[in-house]
């Protein structure tokens, strides 16, 4: 729409014709108060807080529904307007309980703020207030009816935003009330978005309510550790006896890739961190074969000496390493560098949840063909093949829905199952069970679906994990032949993509560089073995045959995941770094207690290749980040740590909050500024950012826009853009991809230690079964 010029409070503003006045003003820094208006959701004009005066119009107008046109003149603050807003607040406060001192929202309440601003401080109300008991709708959501101001944000967020439609309004007049779909129970995805958007304390979170006051928390913005979409999440952190504890996760920081969104796992699933089953001391198997607590010193020395001994006696190829899809890029990079240059083995792998290697290879040499999640938000047409984003990629599902709803994007879905997103789809193609085999043929076919897809000038293709290897190649090939087509592929886990990008693969170095033609790595990786190593299944097969001397496992639980019998590791020296004594750790000879993603800093890469900075939020006595554990292990093996981690170059003294965590304040901000300007302080070998430099140097796709990265934004990467042609390697065979298939309330091993997620799962299981069937 053409721009128009209009006047607000004497200032000339310009905006596209038809922009809502409230939005145009916000962009120009003129804040108009509103309870019911919520960007992106349908208009209500119900709260009447946003009233403004428009020249030549007799009544006050609502800025939330007024669209701007050429030459209009508005006043947004005046005695008359202030009085109107004050009266509206007075009317609201009439029946409002005024229990702010014990209300969860106290200090973060929009009604409080408005009352403060417009000064409705004296109560005129002399009547009896309606009292009603609070209701628990689910483990996650509580409703305190008297506090509700009926702005209908929750209803719209649940319906329009989430496409769940679990909330309604019943009765009328003052008896109007928000009601959940199950009568007194909420059968839904338990995303908690309703709590987030509630401007007052009417909807409160089961896990946070009555725990603390908002001003007693530090708010740390980091990245969720649960699925591969990488939502930005704000952790509310409070001092505790053994460090600091996370008391809340929410989405205060709407600048993230997830905008308004956060799902149940992001919002409630942080509590695994506080699990009493967390490891907090290194464990070493004693002569009786029992794991017993040990000092760090002892455990490190023992593990290091065993590793050195096995490497010397049986060679690097008798050692194997399994990395994690939940650790940071720096940790993953360091792990494979440690394996390849210290342990001198290419036997390194991780839980592959998508065939990222094939994806990178298919895109080799192509610019601007990999789609970031931000591209999904604005793409005019999207083809989704396979996958079930609503369950496995909640943020992607949200992004797709929002794009369809707000921008009328056209969504095409080809799937063997009837997934919920078909409700947003322009066209769907139901495929038989083996239907993903010949995708180009399907898309070139004669069906209405294929024709509609082909009619799109610009297309974004998203592939579920079902699409692997040659199928990826074929599909990408089809798209590359068509012009403006971009691609994304879906895996699970917070940093699966990062693990693959960072070379936790037996045949590929960071950046999908072949181990047998290592290029720039040759000079930097002294002693790099040139033969591809073993895949995860091959490692266990070797172990079973007694050919594996040592196995280092970082943040992974292959025993449970692959269903390997513990027997297999009988003759292998096993070192595990983990946060829990999981099935694999229970078999280890040495166990190091690791910090979770919420207790360390570093970058992670979501399944779309968007890199984000995870910031340390909490502290836990006794644990160490995997990065530090690795460095110490290497140090204990007598390695020159400087060669592994190029730290200390500038000789400045500070760190990036690694050691101060949630308590970090000014110093951290200073550090961010320095870092953003290329002046990182690599003062300690435990500072992962030292390694980030090296990643940037050696992995061309990871040339990161640091100003944005450290400012808290997501930075896209393209896996194949800078590679030459690479053949799909046999080692990335499709059957090595084992997706986690986590649902809305499960998150691998982490989820099993989250009481909140377990409770939600129990609450929801029958209801979800029903919705799935409809």
């Amino acid at each position: 729409m053409a721009d128009v010029t209009f006047t607000v409070d004497g200032k000339k503003l310009t905006a596209p014709a038809g922009t809502l006045l409230i939005e145009a003003c916000r962009k120009a820094g003129i804040e108009i108060p509103a309870f019911c208006y919520y960007p992106g959701l349908s208009l209500q004009a119900a709260c009447r807080m946003c009233v403004v005066r428009q020249e030549k119009v007799p009544k006050l107008q609502t800025a939330c529904t007024t669209t701007v046109a050429e030459g209009q003149v508005f006043i947004t603050e005046s005695a008359e307007i202030a009085q109107a807003r004050k009266a509206t607040i007075e009317l609201l406060l009439g029946n409002h309980p005024l229990d702010c001192p014990v209300c969860d929202a106290g200090g973060e309440c929009e009604l409080q703020d408005m009352t403060f601003k417009y000064g409705a401080g004296v109560s005129l109300y002399a009547e009896a207030k309606q009292h009603r008991e609070e209701q628990q709708w689910s483990p996650a959501v509580f409703y305190d009816r008297p506090r509700c101001i009926l702005c209908y944000r929750c209803i719209r967020m649940c319906g329009e935003g989430m496409d769940v439609w679990a909330l309604g309004v019943q009765n009328r007049a003052v008896s109007s009330v928000i009601v959940p779909n199950g009568g007194d129970q909420l059968d839904c995805e338990q995303c908690g978005m309703c709590i987030d958007v509630c401007p007052v304390g009417a909807l409160t979170s089961g896990s946070y309510r009555y725990k603390t006051r908002p001003w007693e928390m530090n708010h740390v913005s980091t990245v969720c550790t649960h699925c591969a979409d990488g939502c930005k999440v704000t952790l509310g952190v409070r001092q505790s006896n053994d460090g600091s504890e996370i008391v809340r996760a929410d989405n205060r920081d709407k600048s993230g890739i997830n905008g308004d969104f956060l799902c149940a796992k992001g919002r409630f699933g942080f509590d695994f961190v506080e699990s009493p089953e967390r490891l907090n001391k290194p464990l070493v198997r004693n002569a009786q074969g029992v794991l017993e607590p040990a000092t760090w010193e002892h455990a490190l020395r023992y593990a290091a000496s065993k590793l050195s001994e096995i490497r010397e006696s049986r060679g690097g190829e008798s050692i194997a390493v399994i990395g994690s899809s939940n650790t940071t890029n720096e940790e993953n990079y360091l792990l494979q560098k440690f394996a390849r240059t210290v342990l001198r083995t290419n036997n390194i792998d991780h839980q592959r949840t998508a065939d990222y290697a094939a994806f990178a290879s298919a895109l080799a040499g192509r610019q601007s063909k990999a789609a970031s999640l931000r591209d999904v938000a604005i793409a005019p047409a999207i083809l989704l093949i396979g996958g079930d984003p609503t369950v496995e990629h909640p943020l992607l599902a949200w992004t797709l829905r929002t794009n369809v709803r707000l921008n009328k994007a056209r969504l095409y879905i080809a799937n063997t199952a009837k997934i919920k997103l078909t409700r947003q789809a322009r066209a769907t193609l139901e495929l038989p069970a083996d239907g993903y085999r010949n995708l180009p043929v399907l898309l070139d076919g004669d069906t209405d679906f294929a024709k509609a897809v082909r009619a799109e000038e610009s297309l974004l293709v998203i592939m579920g994990e079902e699409i692997r290897g040659a199928q990826i190649e074929a599909l990408v090939g089809w798209g590359l032949g068509r012009g403006d087509v971009r691609f994304a592929c879906l895996g699970d886990r917070a940093n699966s993509r990062g693990a693959a990008d960072m070379g936790l693969l037996p045949d590929l170095l960071p950046g999908y560089v072949q181990v047998n033609s290592p290029g720039a790595f040759a000079a930097e990786y002294p002693g790099l073995p040139s033969n591809p190593g073993k895949t995860e299944p091959e490692m266990f097969a070797a172990a079973a045959k007694g050919e594996l001397g040592a196995l280092l496992i970082v943040g992974a639980n292959p025993i449970a995941r692959l269903g390997v019998a513990g027997e297999a590791l009988k003759n292998t020296f096993v070192i595990v770094q983990d946060i829990f004594l999981n099935e694999t750790a229970a078999l280890a000879d040495v166990v190091f207690p690791a910090a979770s993603l919420y207790e360390k800093s570093g970058t992670i890469t979501n399944t779309f290749g968007d890199v984000q900075l995870a910031r340390k939020a909490a502290d836990r006595a006794g644990v160490k980040p995997d990065f530090e554990i690795l460095v110490r292990l290497a140090g204990s093996m007598g390695v020159d740590v400087k060669a592994l981690v190029p730290f200390g170059k500038l000789g400045v003294t500070a760190d990036l909050g690694q050691s101060r965590g949630a308590q970090a304040g000014e110093a951290d901000r200073h550090a961010v500024w320095l870092a953003a300007n290329g002046l990182e302080m690599k003062t300690s070998p435990f500072d992962p950012l030292a390694v980030l430099d090296e990643i940037e140097r050696l992995v061309p796709a990871y040339k990161l826009d640091r100003l944005n990265l450290f400012g808290g934004s997501d930075v896209p990467t393209e896996p194949g853009a800078t590679m030459g042609f690479v053949p799909v390697s046999a080692l990335t065979a499709p059957n090595l991809v084992v997706p986690a298939h986590d649902g809305l309330f499960t998150s691998g091993t982490l989820g099993r230690y989250s009481p909140a997620l377990k409770e939600l799962q129990q609450h929801q299981s029958p209801a979800l079964a029903e919705t799935a069937a409809d």
Binding site: A46, L60, R172, V174
Partner: protein, 436 residues
Amino acid sequence: MPRLVSHPDEVKIVSRRFGLGAEKIDRYIELGGYESARKCLAQGPDWIINELKASSLRGRGGAGFPTGMKWSFVPKQSAKPKYVLVNGDESEPGTCKDHLIFLHDPHAVIEGAIIAGLAIGAKVGFIYLRGEYRYLLEIMEKAVADAYAKGFLGKNIFGSDTEFQIITQTGAGAYEVGEESALMESLEGKRGVPRIKPPFPAVVGLYGGPTVINNAETIATVPYVIEMGGAAFAAVGSPKNGGTRLFSISGHVERPGVYELPMGYNLKKMIYEVAGGVRSGRKLKAVVPGGSSTPVLLPEEIETLGMDFDQVGKAGSMLGSAGVVVLDDQTCIVEFALRTISFYQHESCGWCIPCREGTDWLKKSLTRFHAGFGVAKDIDNIKYLAENMLGRTFCPLGDAAAMPTLGFVNKFRKEFEDHLDGKPCPFAKHVELAVV
């Protein structure tokens, strides 16, 4: 069965067939029915709209918007189907005129709807009756069926190639659904919450299509406008207020009833002559001129007051739905105000804050006041609340509660003061007044 009344001053236009058996289609035709529709079919839309403009017929639903102009706002071309919507939700306290139209002259509503359809190019009309009017809905449904049987409705009305269908609909108890956009919501099977305007119904209405919505009386008047000609119709009323109106006169009068009088008819005469004067020879205390939402008038304000939209507006009230409610000198204004506000509190849709909270607060304060627990500050508080609701609500229901409240407090302040601090009601009225 509602009693029919008559008075020599009446000019029977809309009511001319009342009591004559015109609910039967043959009788209706015998009395000249469906001729106007045939004429309009021949003349075409522009002619119809011009006649209506010339008639200065203004909407009988309350706001008095010129009907011809309203119809002319409907775009000629539209991708979505256009609709005619007859508002028979009649719920404004003091108003019962549409009741008689549906009872005695349902075909006039059908014929008017056909003409509206021809004027705007709609193929479908809806007649929405409040849920309580079930027996009237049955009469209406029978009339519609008869009109179909005669070929006056359907694919080829009156043998032409023009289509017009009528669908009847019932409400289920909600005053707010009388508001035009809330009515559309209700007709679409939703809560009766009004819509954001603009867009106005003439552009985006029922099912998203351009829609003309008119009160049942407005629609029933249309065939007559066509029959006698716009100019002749206009001449019956007062300037800019064409024709007659059905006045529902209720309350403390000797002969309450629905009387059809020319627009501009003097209110005093209406009470004292047409309706037989104040009951039992009592003195007049006040009149609510246009349904319960219109501010009350004092005896001295009605001496020369002509009952049309403009004159009543100038007198500080509104003609509204022309429900004239007469209060004698034994009426307690506090009680009357409380009953009035209780209604709006009960009927607020609850959507917007000022109306939902304001009506409730007013009701609570007045209830307390009425019970003898009022304090001096309350009177100003009530005023303050009403003033701050006025013009701030999402739809006019909030105003409909605030305006009469201000009227009562401003014009009868002394009577409010006489109720303060536990003083007994001057009319010895206040037993417990349970309100819905």
